[in-house]
């Protein structure tokens, strides 16, 4: 529901500017307005300045940066021109903050009741009963026993609710939330989002919700502001902005977020976001913009108002085409390809401290030639351990893994050269996947030498071709990993896997630590490689969107046990197992954008209460 400029304006931030010690502007010309009971979604990728903006609203700048311009008025009270002590007294009472990783944000040696009363006492003397009331307000057990618990004795969801309770304890008119659900699994995330929605109705506080995930924002926000390279590039009511994004970056974002309801091929956004110190002059998005013209990079475009409440910072805003969705994937069940890899009765455990955790219990599945099987499940569901067993990096307790019919020894060292060539592994964290001390060319030449017995020079000759295949410039060969971005490093890791000319590629959450725009590019690359090389891919992920874009078949895991397996259409559209249904329901999705035919509509969904942990 679009909020017109009503008299009880809660937040009025004008031309906020925060600079680094070196004078570079981290954020500039940021203006935000918010009324009572309204939720503003602040979205942007890493390095866009969204968190700096959120903190600036509280008059706080991290050491090493300083707020150099702009005005912030909350409920009529101007914040920035107050001295530090006065500014501190405002926080919690006038505006409060919910941190991203609740686990680290709570004082490990303070009981919950003490932590909450600490915040309360700052403003008025509040009794123990009030602490119980606040706990109840965020749907936590309002019992003395619970209140005496220490942070490490709570689950992730509970910890996050405590930080929200702390933010609510003095009923401030404005609450700033910095990606509160990022660290949580999708089901807990859904219940916390539900909680926030309920609070907005009950206490009518204004909320600024910061996130990198447009889908999560679309579920909550009344109005959305998109930030890129320290500036707001588009702002407006959620529905109109998502249906018809006017700024090319917003359009690119919407296009690259996969929607598991309509398995489509993604349209990737080219290039990467520039770091703080090396932002180009003029429109920062110009180098990656498809409708870029010389005028874009002459001067920084101003924020122009299209319709009431909808502003955009782009000279060619009116020429921005509507969102073009990738064409549907034809998932007609092609004949099942003959199995390359069979896993029967796999049981694997690992010791964490004194307890032994069952990672996989009696897991059996097949991977066909050229097929992409997705292993889906929450973190800790055992999918990574299963993958490591396949690659010979983890010794299973029971079960047989056979390649082309003959069983594989459990340790990689004991496997034959051909077997070691056949299966290649791409790791999750791009910053850990390459040896920082060696050039890309060495890293890419090594597999050929070891697994295909090529001489050093022969292996090095292939490096150029490998880089092309993963769409990286040849000059990347001489670079060190520290000189590459996350996306580029992941491409090199894939190229290294290809150097062994494998039959099976195991991708363990390869996009989860990348920005959504880069993720689309990598998934696109993976699809092309499967088409060109006929590779079978074992995709490990917790994101149903990624599954819908790439997978042919899906295997759903929960705490190491197989819940359901089937083709992509069966799983996504007609899930049989309640857990699968719960997963699908909880996954945040964007409203279907207006395509040429313009028939999109925003929608809300409620998630059943008992699903919440």
């Amino acid at each position: 529901m679009a909020m017109t400029a009503s008299p009880d304006r809660v937040l009025d931030a004008e031309a906020l500017r925060v600079e680094l010690a070196s004078g570079f502007p981290v954020i500039d010309e940021v203006s935000l307005q918010l009324s009572r009971g309204e939720i503003l979604g602040l979205v942007g990728e890493s390095g866009s300045g969204k968190t700096t903006t959120a903190l600036a609203l509280l008059g706080y700048s991290r050491p090493g940066s300083v707020i150099t311009g702009g005005q912030v008025t909350i409920a009529g009270q101007s914040v920035l021109d107050l001295p530090d002590a006065a500014r501190r007294r405002l926080r919690g009472r006038l505006v409060s903050y919910v941190p991203q990783h609740a686990g680290q944000a709570l004082n490990p040696s303070l009981r919950i009741s003490a932590a909450i009363s600490d915040v309360m006492r700052q403003h008025e003397t509040r009794s123990r009963a009030d602490v119980m009331a606040v706990l109840a307000a965020v749907d936590l057990p309002a019992s003395q026993a619970f209140a005496r618990r220490l942070p490490h004795q709570l689950s992730g969801g509970q910890q996050q609710r405590v930080t929200i309770a702390m933010a609510l304890s003095c009923e401030p008119p404005l609450i700033v939330m910095d990606e509160p659900t990022t660290g949580l699994d999708v089901i807990t995330q859904a219940s916390v989002l539900e909680e926030i929605r309920r609070l907005r109705e009950q206490i009518g506080a204004a909320l600024v919700y910061v996130s990198h995930d447009l889908a999560v924002i679309s579920e909550l926000a009344d109005r959305i502001a998109v930030m890129y390279a320290g500036r707001i590039v588009e702002e407006g009511p959620a529905a109109t902005l998502l249906a018809r994004p006017r700024h090319p970056y917003t359009r690119g974002l919407v296009q690259s977020i996969p929607d598991h309801r309509r398995p489509t091929r993604q349209v990737a956004m080219p290039g990467i976001a520039a770091g703080v110190e090396d932002r180009p002059a003029g429109c920062a998005f110009a180098p990656r913009c498809i409708q870029q013209t010389p005028v874009c990079s002459e001067a920084m475009p101003a924020l122009i108002t299209l319709t009431a409440g909808h502003q955009v910072r782009c000279v060619h805003a009116d020429e921005t085409p509507p969102v073009t969705l990738g064409e549907e994937r034809d998932l007609r069940a092609a004949a099942r390809p003959s199995p390359v890899l069979e896993v029967t009765g796999l049981r694997a455990t690992h010791r964490s401290g004194s307890e032994t955790v069952v990672a996989a219990d009696d897991v059996s599945f097949e991977l066909g030639g050229g097929e992409c099987l997705a292993l889906v499940g929450e973190s800790g569901s055992g999918k990574t351990t299963i993958a490591r067993c396949l690659a010979g990096l983890h010794r299973p307790d029971r079960g047989v893994i056979s390649l082309h019919g003959d069983p594989l020894p459990d340790r990689a060292r004991k496997r034959s050269l051909a077997q070691r060539r056949a299966i290649q592994y791409v790791f999750q964290n791009p910053y850990e996947s390459l040896n920082p001390r060696r050039q890309v060319s060495d890293e890419l030449a090594r597999p050929a030498q070891v697994l295909r017995g090529l001489s050093a020079s022969a292996a090095r000759a292939e490096v150029g071709a490998l880089l092309d295949r993963v769409r990286l410039p040849a000059r990347a060969a001489g670079r060190y990993p520290s000189q590459l971005s996350g996306g580029e490093r992941q491409r090199v890791a894939i190229a290294r896997a290809l150097a062994a000319e494998p039959e099976i590629l195991i991708c363990d959450e390869i996009t989860s630590s990348l920005d959504v725009s880069v993720q689309a590019a990598i998934l696109g690359l993976l699809a092309d490689l499967r088409a060109e090389l006929g590779l079978s891919v074992l995709l490990i992920t917790h994101d149903l969107g990624v599954v819908s874009v790439t997978a042919d078949r899906v295997l759903v895991l929960q705490q190491g046990t197989m819940r359901e397996t089937g083709s992509i259409t069966q799983i996504l559209h007609t899930p049989a197992h309640p857990y699968t249904r719960q997963l699908i329901a909880a996954a945040p999705v964007l409203p279907v954008p207006v395509t040429e035919s313009g028939d999109g509509q925003g929608k809300r969904r409620a998630i059943s209460k008992e699903a919440a942990l």
Binding site: T52, V276, L393, Q424
Partner: protein, 285 residues
């Protein structure tokens, strides 16, 4: 710091604020001091006016007269003994550090890489050795093997090896879970080549800072044992020994004690400054 902000600001300033001096300044001063002391220790013997073992005058003759730094307890020229006394400090402390590192590195790498029982065996032996005061251990070992500098040097290496092994093991454990190491393992590369190609280059930096620490510790330990008269035996010329044998004459000819003491101190401070800068300050975390 708020993790989101770090991404926004894309800055890696965390380590810098920990330092006593900006790394380059500490490094420079340390290097100059170290070079001076090492030069004195190595070139010294050639410049010595007298033989370090020859009695050339009355005991504790005050400095400044015929002898620049006076004479010591047996009437030997203090200046000559100071010029000769540096070599033993560098050689034996150096050997002890190298010996400790060879053992510590090998132990640490294999324990960290193989995990399982070798890891447990190392950790248990480390617990045993680290629960014994280092100096007492060295005194025991050196007297068991007959007084002299070689047993002291070996004992100094033995007492330091476990601490090094523990650092190397922790670093190896950290590296072995990183992607590129697991990729090498998946390729079936031998343990040796994984350690040499993937792990060792990446733990070299933290270790380089530790080498300085170990060398200082070796110098301290060996000098202290010599000071107690249980390491190098008279009539050898050694800074540590000189401080103890001339201790009685501190009133008559202070130079006989203070000059060797100051040189030892200079050497230790120099190495500390150097390893401080090498570690970029992380060492002080």
């Amino acid at each position: 710091m708020i993790t989101g902000v770090a991404e926004d600001l894309d800055i890696k300033q965390r380590a810098k604020r920990r330092l006593a001096l900006p790394p380059t300044l500490a490094g420079k001063i340390g290097l100059i001091m170290l070079a001076a002391v090492v030069l004195l220790a190595l070139a010294g013997p050639e410049l010595a006016p007298y033989s370090p073992r020859l009695t050339v005058g009355a005991p504790y003759a005050p400095s400044g007269g015929h002898f620049l730094l006076g004479t010591d307890v047996l009437g030997r020229d203090v200046l000559s003994r100071v010029l000769f006394g540096g070599r033993t400090v560098l050689i034996y402390a150096g050997l002890a550090t190298i010996l400790a590192y060879l053992a510590g590195l090998a132990f640490g790498l294999f324990a960290g890489y193989l995990r399982g029982w070798p890891d447990q065996a190392l950790m248990r032996s480390v617990d045993v050795l680290l629960s014994f005061p280092a100096l007492v251990f060295i005194l025991l070992v050196s007297t068991a093997a007959g007084q002299g500098i070689i047993p002291v040097m070996v004992a100094t290496a033995i007492i330091q090896a476990p601490a090094i092994a523990r650092i190397v093991r922790t670093a190896t454990l950290e590296q072995s879970v990183r992607g590129f190491v697991e990729a090498a393992v998946a390729r079936g590369e031998s343990a040796i080549s994984v350690l040499r190609r993937e792990i060792l280059p990446n733990i070299a930096r933290p270790l380089s800072a530790d080498v300085g620490l170990r060398f200082t510790w070796s110098v301290l330990l060996i000098a202290s044992v010599n000071f107690l008269g249980l390491g190098l035996q008279p009539p050898a010329a050694d800074w540590g020994l000189m401080v103890s044998e001339n201790w009685g004459g501190i009133g008559a000819n202070p130079a006989a004690v203070l000059v060797p003491a100051a040189l030892l101190g200079l050497l230790c401070v120099a190495i500390n400054l150097l390893s401080d800068s090498l570690a970029g300050g992380r060492q002080w975390q």
